[in-house]
């Protein structure tokens, strides 16, 4: 009571301070307080993603190259979009991106699953293996690209290991792997597998760790063979982990860029150009800003289906995982 009166007196004595206090109380109210961080973050998103994106749409409708002043740009309608859609290079780059990520993700899933299964059977050495297998994930992708570029060079260790084999056929062992289209593609896939199998391995390892022991033991007691237990009991229980690994890795693999720059610059020819590299080259090397803008809008349109599908699957799988754990 005394406090209330003293508050009232203070408020009466200095109206400005009272207003400040009222404002502070308004900010701390149930309705407003949680909105403060929300508004700040949303404003940041609008400023750095939404506005640039809207501007990109506008730029994509202009005829303009970055090496000329912006005032010289003229309205071009949908010309840029037509140009991108008619360009074989764009579609080939997109197809190649899907091809790379398809092969790489499949390999990562199979190897990661196998490794997780083997490691989960270990008792004493499990921790050691897990620590080692985790390391590639932490290495900066560009350093991975560099490492592999070092291994593939004509006088690199890969050729040395292959030398006895190649010598039998009388081939000079100093092969320039990255100058051969197919070998260069596999070089990029291998670098990706090297780095990201660690993630699928970890996802599957936690999946294996969460398997209910009793259920498996029960199956064994009832006379199921190891093979049957694996196919009929363990694999269905691991399905959420598999789905999550597929989605997360595919979304990331479609962004493939760093190893391409480090290993091949999209070459030889355009045989390792991913769609990310294609866009980067259009804008940075050829200065075709409005063309690049149109291509990135088209790309986002294509990927947005995948993104929505991915998020939908993640939400439903997460529910399944949580429901199962309760």
């Amino acid at each position: 009571m005394a406090e209330v009166t003293s508050n009232a007196i203070r408020a009466a004595a200095s109206p400005r301070r009272g207003a400040g206090r009222r404002f502070a109380r308004w900010l701390a109210s149930e309705r407003v307080f949680p909105l403060i961080p929300f508004v700040v973050v949303e404003a940041l998103f609008v400023l750095t993603i939404l506005i640039p994106f809207a501007l990109t749409i506008w730029i994509s409708l202009l005829r303009w190259r970055a090496n000329r002043p912006f005032e010289t740009a003229t309205f071009a309608g949908l010309d840029n979009y037509q140009g991108v859609l008619a360009s074989d290079q764009f579609w080939l780059a997109l197809a190649r991106t899907f091809y790379f990520s398809g092969v790489a993700v499949a390999l990562e899933l199979v190897i990661g699953f196998l490794l997780a299964m083997l490691v989960s059977r270990c008792t004493r050495s499990r921790k050691l293996y897990t620590t080692i297998f985790l390391v590639p994930m932490m290495i900066v992708p560009i350093v991975v690209g560099y490492n592999f570029s070092m291994i593939y060079i004509d006088s690199g260790p890969l050729n040395q290991l292959l030398a006895p084999l190649l010598g039998m056929f009388g081939i000079d062992p100093r092969i320039r792997w990255l100058s051969h289209p197919v070998a260069a593609q596999w070089a990029i896939i291998l670098a990706d597998v090297w780095q990201w199998t660690s993630l699928t391995f970890l996802i599957f390892l936690s999946g294996f760790a969460a398997l209910p022991r009793q259920l498996i033991n029960a199956a064994r007691v009832m006379g199921a063979s190891a093979w049957q237990t694996f196919w009929r009991v363990e694999l269905p229980l691991l399905k959420p982990a598999i789905v999550i690994a597929v989605i997360i890795r595919s979304m990331e693999a479609l962004k493939l860029f760093d190893p391409v720059v480090l290993l091949t610059f999209g070459g030889p020819g355009t045989s390792t150009q991913t769609v990310a590299y294609f866009l980067w080259e259009q804008v940075w090397v050829f200065n075709k800003f409005s063309y690049g803008a149109a291509a990135s809008i088209i790309l986002l349109f294509i990927f947005s289906f995948l993104i929505f599908f991915g998020i939908y699957m993640l939400i439903s799988q997460r529910r399944a995982v949580e429901g199962g754990a309760q």
Partner: protein, 319 residues
């Protein structure tokens, strides 16, 4: 007395034991093979970083440097003018790592701290007040799933053309965010915010609400509750999140390559510069930089090992 059944049982048991031992050997053989596969590129980088120029591309390649040298490290860590015997190539200034190291540390620390601050606050609001609706947690993932190249081109146009154009038209001053620390920090903060929010959500969700309620009843203000009750309880989570986001920013390449050119140079961009060096590839210094870039993040990563999968999979995996 041993019956036939006993003998058969003994045989079956020994057969099973032998099969188990074989399985164990096979298992370790596969796991060790994968270990070797993982270790080899790292080994090769570290080994190359101690090789002198003549050994970089020797045939047959030298697995271990025949004459180990700290030359490459001396080159990248050199201050000021280089000893002419050290620099065999023309682009001396591109050798030193200091600029890249300083810029990377500045940009990554600032962006990670800013992201941590905003993300933690928002995660708290989401966890306690359900701000943004039920699916806000998931829609925020979309930011992460958009291919960065799509964002990069729009941001490049925005930073390098639109902002200078608009500011010179409106205020008469040409302000460009292209190739500035502020520009890069801002975009790093935004791209890693989803991770901060997701990781902090899992930590904050675990703090019992009753604690805060009690503090509120005892007369603590909202900010006081946050500072005195919630933050101390999630402090370790904040450290983990900071390290995780720092690793992500440290490894980022595409945005840095697109949004900066001569001025701001992060380590990843610096490493790439050697690749396109006109005098041919400088394998040694590159390997040295690679080693310097790798060591701190691997240590950080091993520190937060348990939480890594949470971050990379957006908490969809329960550990």
């Amino acid at each position: 007395m041993t019956t036939a059944a006993d003998v058969a049982g003994e045989a079956a048991r020994s057969r099973r034991r032998r099969r188990e031992r074989l399985g164990k050997i096979g298992r370790h053989a596969i796991l060790l093979a994968w270990t070797a596969f993982i270790a080899f590129p790292i080994f090769w980088m570290v080994s190359t970083s101690f090789k002198d120029a003549g050994e970089w591309v020797a045939w047959p390649p030298h697995w271990l440097p025949h004459e180990p040298t700290l030359h490459n490290y001396a080159q990248i860590f050199a201050f000021g003018a280089l000893d002419p015997t050290l620099s065999r190539q023309a682009t001396e200034q591109a050798f030193t790592i200091w600029k890249g190291l300083g810029d990377a540390l500045l940009v990554c620390t600032a962006a990670s701290l800013l992201g941590l601050l905003l993300g933690t606050f928002l995660a708290y609001a989401i966890s306690r007040f359900n701000v943004g609706g039920k699916y806000f947690r998931h829609t925020i993932l979309m930011i992460r799933m958009i291919p960065p190249i799509v964002v990069a081109i729009s941001i490049l146009i925005y930073y390098a053309i639109i902002i200078p154009y608009a500011t010179s038209a409106l205020f008469g001053v040409r302000i460009s965010l292209f190739d500035t620390y502020v520009g890069l920090i801002l975009i790093y903060t935004v791209t890693t915010l989803p991770f901060v929010i997701w990781m902090m959500l899992t930590f904050i969700d675990e703090v019992p609400y009753t604690l805060e309620h009690a503090a509120r009843l005892m007369g603590a203000g909202r900010l006081q509750v946050l500072r005195r009750v919630v933050l101390p309880l999630v402090a370790s989570g904040m450290v983990v999140t900071f390290l995780f986001v720092f690793i992500l920013n440290w490894a980022e390449f595409l945005l840095a390559l697109t949004l900066t050119h001569p001025e701001v140079t992060t380590l990843t961009v610096l490493l790439n510069k050697f690749q396109s060096a006109a005098e041919g590839r400088l394998y040694g210094p590159q390997a040295a930089i690679g080693t310097v870039v790798t060591v701190p993040v691997v240590i950080m990563g091993l520190l937060i090992q348990k939480h890594l999968v949470k971050g990379f999979s957006f908490g969809t995996i329960r550990k």
